[in-house]
């Protein structure tokens, strides 16, 4: 297969970036998208040029490192698929493929296709945990959780922290990412105790980081590689409003 690649190149955070065009021949349909970039990089290096920098590690859709904006879609054209799981057989021979980093004020570009997602980390620092010390856990089966709820909790917990939801959203909202964690804990006895403070703190941090508001376009859910449901945003909102109400009552 042959492709024309238009790739965002940017030397560092302060440099001005631009698209560069690279024709690429003899790509195997069995190659993954990132293997195709490896193949391109090999050619660039042998021509004495600088390879394209992109983030990756597990290459099996679980670590959340990779994340490219491909032909106008986060993680490319296939639903429920991370960039590293995409394969070239999913593209048309001769196609022009445009590759960009995530675009969001809260995710500044570091180099080429790599962005700084530390804003996601700080949202977790704000409250993405249960306050429990090592050594004071009760026996696991002392608080049963019904299978149906457990399954729902799991569906929220599979977020890989990639940032595609932000990249997909016209407002750069991080609601889906935050909601997944907030919902996971709000649905179980271990996390319920602090659910109100958690939602308050995490939502506040989202605002501080410059992520936008949610205007219910559901683009995030559509492009989330793990199929995280926007139902969790509704759940988060319920928690959030009841927490404010809760505070006013106490005031």
């Amino acid at each position: 297969m042959n492709f024309t690649l238009k790739i965002w190149r940017q030397k560092n955070a302060n440099a001005k970036g631009s698209f560069q065009t690279y024709p690429l021949k003899d790509v195997s349909p069995e190659m993954s998208f990132l293997e195709m970039l490896d193949y391109l990089n090999n050619q660039l290096i042998s021509q004495g040029k600088e390879p394209v920098t992109f983030e990756h590690d597990c290459r099996e859709g679980i670590c959340g490192s990779c994340g490219l904006y491909i032909n106008g879609r986060p993680h490319g054209p296939q639903r429920s698929t991370t960039t590293c799981e995409l394969h070239m057989r999913d593209f048309k021979d001769g196609e022009t493929i445009v590759v960009e980093p995530w675009r969001s004020k809260a995710f500044p570009v570091i180099k080429d296709l790599i962005v700084d997602r530390s804003s996601f980390e700080r949202i977790m620092h704000a409250g993405g945990f249960v306050n429990v010390n090592v050594g004071c856990a009760p026996e696991s089966n002392s608080s049963p959780i019904g299978k149906l709820i457990a399954d729902k909790v799991f569906d929220a917990a599979v977020c890989i922290g990639c940032g595609a939801c932000v990249a997909a959203c016209k407002n750069s909202s991080a609601m889906l990412y935050a909601a997944a964690k907030i919902a996971q804990y709000a649905m179980i006895p271990q996390g319920k105790v602090e659910a109100k403070e958690r939602v308050d703190k995490m939502v506040k941090q989202m605002d501080t980081e410059g992520f936008g508001f949610c205007s219910n376009t559901y683009a995030c859910e559509f492009d989330c590689p793990k199929g995280i449901s926007t139902d969790f945003i509704a759940l988060m909102n319920r928690e959030f409003f009841s927490s404010k109400a809760c505070k006013q009552k106490h005031a």
Partner: protein
């Protein structure tokens, strides 16, 4: 002169840890604030240790090379985590878990360490549950379990096929809690490139900031390595591409002894190689062997589509050879059996280098939904990579490099032979002998990090309460930084033509062919020669574009590959010395008449611990004799 002292406490096996722990010295809360600890790695082991130490009140600095601690390769573990809860009433116990690990490891692990790992396993599960880790549950709301290879009880806790992800995210949340409290400071996007020693003790590390390229000095009263496994020595493996040996190797060069380097697990069920540019093999979890049946055609070179081969035409070779355990034999046995069939010409697929893993019978019996509930994400993953739907036709699988039982030698305190330098999780050697049983690594990593290290390290640190801050302005730091800078300059200066990945791929092939699933003396010697040649070529022809003072992924790779040459040589050296077959280490010269591994307990019941003697010199072998008081050494039979 290094003298190995395992510091295994006296007393009955079941009481060793509790008695020993009770005697360990403490650091009082006010003094803990004066003590700094460096943890390198944020997998289950590192993030667990860092958060536990932070909770205790120490000042902790944590490092990882990814952009977030949540991406450590523990995240990729699929199948499950063991604990001796006996929730199934199937007569499980701490002793039985200990016994299974000893046997699974082919009697090449330390009894006391293995028992302790089994002992803390129940606390690990309770802690995860309390942190909100969503383990699978049954309809009554209790935790569910499943079976794993090499055992006859159901003790594996799981979260669909994402157990590692869920356990790591739980651990990550506890780390975040400490970061928020200010007890832990996180340094992502850092490569640790050297250990700094002051007066014979580990007192810091040199890191490279992967964004700016700057070298940084960090000091502490103790250093903990939790840097994972080095299975990427094979190039193609189930590990993340950034996984490396370099952190552990820098410790080895500074005098930490390296144990059983050749004990490396080849996992039987990974998706086979599909194209020449492939740089990663994706694992299909061992749990699939609960319901999947492994087979090849009975006829050599049978080219029919799998679904067209009738029952009579199929050889379920694991069930045939090992009726007692069938498809659930341990990994080393399953891997070698697959290789045996493929080498004999019965393999399937274009290359003939794969076998079938078939769910037809399970789907017929339990229905597609039940199978989807258990393995949905694995089936999807398989389909994404291969384009084939495994509900409709069998998966194709082949063995792949996966897990390193070998690692830095540690004593009962998890301290290496360098005072103040600890190694936990996959980076140490201690609990899995010559072969690891499924689902026992997540267990060991979490046990090490949360429950064991925090106790033993306090004992060591109790002597440091008056030391005060360690300055990074002293000669030891300057020298270490200079050594690292020189090495980087040396690589940058070569200006050759070949990429780091190309060297890595060649190196991996040498290791796979000469020090892989089956080894012999001649092949191992040849492997060492080839490694030396390739290493010379590397230092005259490596190409690293760009500069070292910026984000430079080619430089990162080249630095890691440069260390793998030495790792590979030591693996061959170790495999050559071990004139027996045990666990994952199979020497052609040592097998039974039926082709099973033949151990030599009289001469090889020891840990082979290697001491660095300089870049070109042969390393020195130390032997830690293994004593077995609570298990009887038997031929490991799964027939």
């Amino acid at each position: 002169m290094i003298k190995l002292d395992s510091k295994i406490p006296e007393g009955p096996l079941a009481e060793k840890w509790s008695r020993y722990k009770a005697g360990l010295r403490l650091v009082n809360p006010a003094n803990k604030k004066k003590i700094d600890i460096i943890v390198v790695g944020t997998g289950l082991a590192g993030a667990g240790a860092a958060s536990a130490l932070g909770e205790l009140g120490y000042n902790v600095k944590v490092f990882c090379f990814q952009d977030s601690p949540r991406r450590a390769h523990s995240v990729a573990a699929q199948g499950g985590i063991n604990a001796a809860k006996n929730y199934r009433n199937d007569n499980d116990s701490i002793y039985r878990l200990f016994h299974d690990m000893m046997k699974g490891g082919d009697y090449r692990a330390r009894e006391a360490n293995v028992y302790r790992a089994a002992e803390v396993s129940n606390d690990v599960i309770d802690h995860f549950t309390a942190m909100g880790v969503p383990f699978a549950r049954d309809y009554g709301g209790s935790l569910d379990t499943r079976s794993f290879g090499g055992v006859q009880v159901s003790r594996t806790f799981y979260a669909k096929g994402q157990t590692g992800q869920q356990c790591l995210l739980g651990t990550y949340s506890s780390l975040n809690r400490q970061i928020a409290k200010g007890t832990v400071k996180m340094f992502p996007r850092r490569d640790m490139l050297d250990i700094v020693m002051v007066d014979g003790k580990a007192r810091g590390v040199i890191t490279r900031n992967l964004v700016s390229g700057e070298l940084e000095r960090h000091s502490a009263h103790a250093v903990v390595l939790a840097t994972g496994g080095y299975g990427t020595v094979f190039y193609l493996s189930t590990l993340g591409l950034g996984s490396n040996a370099s952190a552990a190797w820098s410790a080895y060069r500074k005098g930490a002894v390296f144990a059983n380097p050749s004990f490396i697990q080849i996992h039987p069920t990974s998706i086979p190689v599909l194209n020449d540019y492939q740089c990663k093999l994706t694992l299909m979890s061992e749990s699939l062997r609960n319901d999947g049946r492994v087979w090849v055609p009975k006829e050599k070179g049978d080219k029919r589509h799998a679904n067209e081969i009738p029952e009579e035409g199929r050889d379920y070779y694991l069930e045939r050879r090992y009726p007692a355990f069938g498809n659930l034999v341990p990994r080393d046995v399953a891997s070698r059996a697959a290789k045996e069939r493929c080498d004999a010409g019965y393999g399937v697929g274009d290359t003939g280098l794969s076998v079938y893993l078939d769910f037809k019978d399970a789907i017929n019996k339990q229905g597609e939904k039940a199978i989807r509930d258990k393995y949905g994400n694995l089936f999807e993953m398989y389909e994404k990579i291969t384009g084939i739907n495994p509900y409709k036709q069998p998966m194709r699988i082949y063995p792949a490099g996966h897990y390193t039982m070998g690692g830095l030698w540690v004593d009962y305190n998890l301290m290496t032979t360098i005072p103040g330098l600890y190694a936990i999780g996959e980076s140490n050697f201690s609990d899995h002998g010559a072969n690891r049983l499924g689902a026992s690594s997540l267990m060991q990593c979490s046990g090490d990090g949360y429950f064991i290290l925090p106790n033993t390290i306090s004992d060591y640190l109790s002597e440091d309460i008056r030391t005060g801050k360690i300055s990074t302005d002293q000669p030891a730091f300057e020298e270490a930084e200079k050594q690292v800078a020189d090495r980087i300059q040396k690589i940058m200066a070569v200006g050759g033509k070949e990429t780091a990945s190309s060297f890595h791929k060649q190196l991996g092939k040498i290791m796979w062919d000469h020090c892989g699933m089956r080894r012999d003396a001649e092949g191992l010697k040849k492997g060492m020669e080839l490694l030396i040649q390739l290493e010379e070529e590397f230092w005259s022809n490596i190409c690293v574009p760009g500069t070292d003072k910026e984000l430079n992924q080619e430089l990162e790779k080249a630095l890691k590959v440069a260390d793998f040459f030495e790792v590979g040589r030591l693996m061959c050296e170790d495999a050559l010395q071990r004139e027996e077959s045990c666990g994952a280490h199979f020497r052609e010269e040592h097998q039974t008449e039926t082709g099973e591994a033949k151990r030599n307990d009289a001469n090889f019941a020891f840990v082979a611990a290697w001491e660095y003697q300089g870049p070109a010199a042969k390393p020195k072998l130390h032997k830690e004799a293994l004593e077995f008081k609570y298990v009887e050494l038997k031929e490991r039979s799964y027939k």
